[in-house]
């Protein structure tokens, strides 16, 4: 992007205007069609859900602080693990990256807004209703479903009405994601500024283009799976209900056909954020840009043929186990290409370690560790031993928390100065990083040991021998929760009273929002497309 020329100049900044549509106050946010407003809504919504899901995690860890049953009964414990998973994945992580997409994609490709501004508003406002359905399900007779976030049949066929709430919530979440994906693809393919060819797009835009296609392909399959569950429950069909010749394993196949690409729906935008942050703080262009694009596409395609590695113990024929094992191991190749490219980007760069870079480095180390435990689990005989133990819990939290969440933090600290026009407090940001990193490892590193020793997941009680590691894990969880209050404080302090940020606070940042737009970015940007060479 270094070849772009600033055709606007800052004297024209007043052309952008700063009006917020026809409404003020709350109606501004309900009726907004501005991609920046909607991005902000997504991000705050995601933070709220992150807190709710985090409180559930804290209760789970409080119960697991000691063996025996202390605070919650097993039924409620199951409801908590279910809702923690659903809320964190569909309520916190996915909306967070859609928030980044809304803020960044139009600015990075030189577009005035998203392609379908009203649809964008609707995509967001479906989410609060879905979240309400999920949370309210705790209050209905029978409580929330205690089936696990994977919603496996036949348990789902037997649950109370909380299950129906969850099914409709998943329908709404799916609809929101599909509409968002259509919007993002159309924006990227049709609204790029002249000269912004596909292979000149920032990598964040590329990862989102591929993610949006993934969403389009798999969210409808999940919608189908929960629809079948719904008709099994109420309309006499027997897709999964063995009482009528249905097959519960069929559900797992359909679910994981969605579920594995879903992992990459979460991970690919995180890769995109990291691919913006690391070059900026290495003061070098991204190493192997084209190979990054192809690796991302390869991961996305491979993600469709590995789903049954979640199901090694369901009685899969050996040939099937071998196929899915090799296919899964194959994914390590494009993922390795990405990791090595990030490392090569830093090689001989003039590095500096501001908070976004710290989170990116944390991502690089921790996500790679999560990838390695994933490789361990991909091996059939090992997985049969470790299936449904805390080793699996540790593995996917390394990928989801140290992967996706760390990337989201990196992105927030990276772009917050651009969005708000104010700098965050650097020292507090660094403290937030170190607290998060230490407490994160305290929670999840020890869970590898618990899993290897045979502690099963989703059980509120455990034998005495697991007590020490569980205590450490629980203490880490409480610390990690408190550290996020510091994050909230840093963000609020930045928005209200941070020092004014320069146009380009990061020396090495080179995408359009840094080089062509003033800080803070105006409410309407690129109403005439920038000229690129």
């Amino acid at each position: 992007m270094s070849a772009v020329v600033d055709s606007h100049g800052h004297g024209h900044a007043h052309d952008y205007g700063d009006h917020h549509g026809g409404y003020g106050g709350i109606m501004r946010w309900i009726t907004t069609t501005n991609h920046k407003d909607i991005g902000t809504l997504y991000l705050w919504f995601s933070f709220l859900m992150f807190c709710i899901g985090g409180i559930m995690a804290a209760v789970i860890r409080a119960e697991l602080f000691s063996p025996g049953l202390q605070f919650v009964d097993p039924d409620f414990f199951n409801q908590l693990t279910t809702m923690h998973g659903l809320i964190m994945i569909f309520g916190a992580i996915m909306p967070a990256f859609v928030g980044f997409a809304n803020w960044q994609i139009p600015m990075m490709i030189g577009a005035p807004d998203m392609a379908f501004a009203r649809l964008n508003n609707w995509s967001f406002w479906l989410l609060p209703f879905a979240a309400t359905l999920l949370v309210v399900s705790f209050l209905v007779p029978g409580g929330a479903p205690g089936v696990g976030w994977t919603m496996y049949a036949p348990l789902t066929v037997q649950m109370g009405m909380g299950m129906d709430f969850t099914i409709f919530a998943v329908h709404l979440l799916g609809m929101s994601s599909i509409l968002g994906a259509i919007n993002i693809i159309t924006t990227i393919l049709n609204l790029r500024a002249p000269g912004m060819t596909l292979l000149r797009m920032p990598l964040f835009v590329w990862t989102w283009l591929i993610t949006a296609y993934l969403l389009l392909a798999v969210m409808p399959v999940l919608a189908g799976a929960v629809t079948m569950t719904l008709t099994d429950r109420h309309f006499g069909t027997t897709f999964f209900n063995a009482a009528g010749g249905g097959d519960a394993v069929l559900y797992q196949h359909i679910f994981w056909f969605f579920g594995h690409p879903e992992v990459y729906v979460v991970a690919l935008p995180a890769f995109g954020v990291i691919s913006q942050v690391i070059p900026a703080f290495s003061r070098k262009p991204l190493f192997g840009y084209a190979s990054m694009v192809y690796a991302t596409a390869a991961i996305a395609i491979l993600s469709f043929i590995v789903w049954a590695h979640h199901m090694y113990t369901t009685g899969l024929p050996v040939t099937g186990q071998l196929f899915f094992m090799y296919a899964t191991i194959l994914i390590a190749v494009p993922t390795g290409v990405k990791v090595f490219n990030w490392v090569a980007t830093m090689w001989k760069g003039s590095l500096s370690f501001e908070t976004p870079m710290l989170f990116a480095m944390g991502f690089l180390f921790m996500f790679t560790l999560g990838g390695f435990t994933g490789l361990v689990l991909s091996i059939v005989p090992v997985d049969i031993q470790l299936q449904d133990t805390y080793y699996v819990v540790a593995h996917f939290h390394y990928v989801m928390v140290a992967g996706a969440l760390f990337a989201a933090f990196a992105g927030i600290y990276f772009w917050l100065p651009k969005w708000t026009g104010r700098m965050y407090h650097e020292t507090l940001g660094k403290i937030h990083f170190w607290l998060t990193l230490v407490f994160f490892n305290m929670i999840f590193f020890v869970q590898h040991f618990l899993g290897l020793a045979g502690m099963p997941r989703r059980i509120p009680d455990y034998p005495l021998m697991f007590e020490t590691w569980n205590k450490i894990s629980s203490l880490g969880a409480f610390g990690m929760g408190l550290a996020q209050l510091l994050f909230l404080y840093i963000v609020v302090k930045c928005i209200r009273s941070g020092a004014p940020a320069p146009q380009k606070p990061w020396e090495g940042a080179d995408s359009l929002e840094w080089t062509h737009l003033p800080t803070p970015v105006p409410y309407h940007s690129f109403e005439t497309p920038p000229v690129l060479h």
Partner: protein, 176 residues
């Protein structure tokens, strides 16, 4: 405006992909059944074949018989609780169903085995579970199962539990 048309056309195409994938989710159901049939997994209610009928008289395996009817107005029981067979030996056991309802009812039986992997070695040559059973009001019927236990059955298995559960086939009402 040209861009608006291009946007609309692209979004329609993407919406068609989304709808298609929703249908694909449902298409996985018959696809799954076909794959299972082709690979010979999950074939609980299919007729098995056995080639090596050498009787291994040195071993005796106890077959325990269990019978359940779920949400079905039938009484369903085996005539004996257990039989002793040699691996490779052809054996037949009989069950009795009584329809206690004053209307015809159709049911389908599904077998399961304990230990689970023993199912692989339990070859059913004739079974009432291969077809749906329709009983007239108050009818009593004796139904057989003919089977061979494969001599390849692992040596540490001395007992196999064969458990049948009858489910009502909804909506058939004896019209099969």
């Amino acid at each position: 405006m040209n861009l608006e048309q291009a946007n609309r056309r692209l979004s329609m195409r993407l919406a068609v992909i989304a709808l298609g994938m929703f249908g694909f989710g449902f298409a996985l159901v018959p696809f799954y059944n076909q794959i299972c049939a082709a690979l010979g997994v999950n074939s609980l209610t299919q007729r098995d074949s056995i080639s090596n009928t050498q009787v291994d008289a040195s071993r005796t395996v106890t077959i325990e018989l269990d019978a359940n009817a779920r949400d079905l107005p039938w009484s369903f029981r085996p005539l004996v609780n257990h039989v002793q067979v040699h691996p490779g030996e052809l054996a037949t056991v009989e069950y009795e169903i009584v329809n206690q309802k004053s209307a015809p009812v159709t049911g389908q039986a599904v077998p399961s085995y304990g230990p689970q992997f023993a199912g692989e070695y339990f070859r059913k040559l004739e079974c009432f579970c291969f077809t749906q059973q329709t009983l007239a009001a108050g009818e009593t019927r004796r139904i057989p199962v003919t089977f061979v236990v494969d001599p390849k059955l692992p040596g540490d298995v001395n007992t196999i539990t064969l458990s049948y559960t009858f489910f009502e086939v909804a909506g058939r009402g004896g019209k099969s």
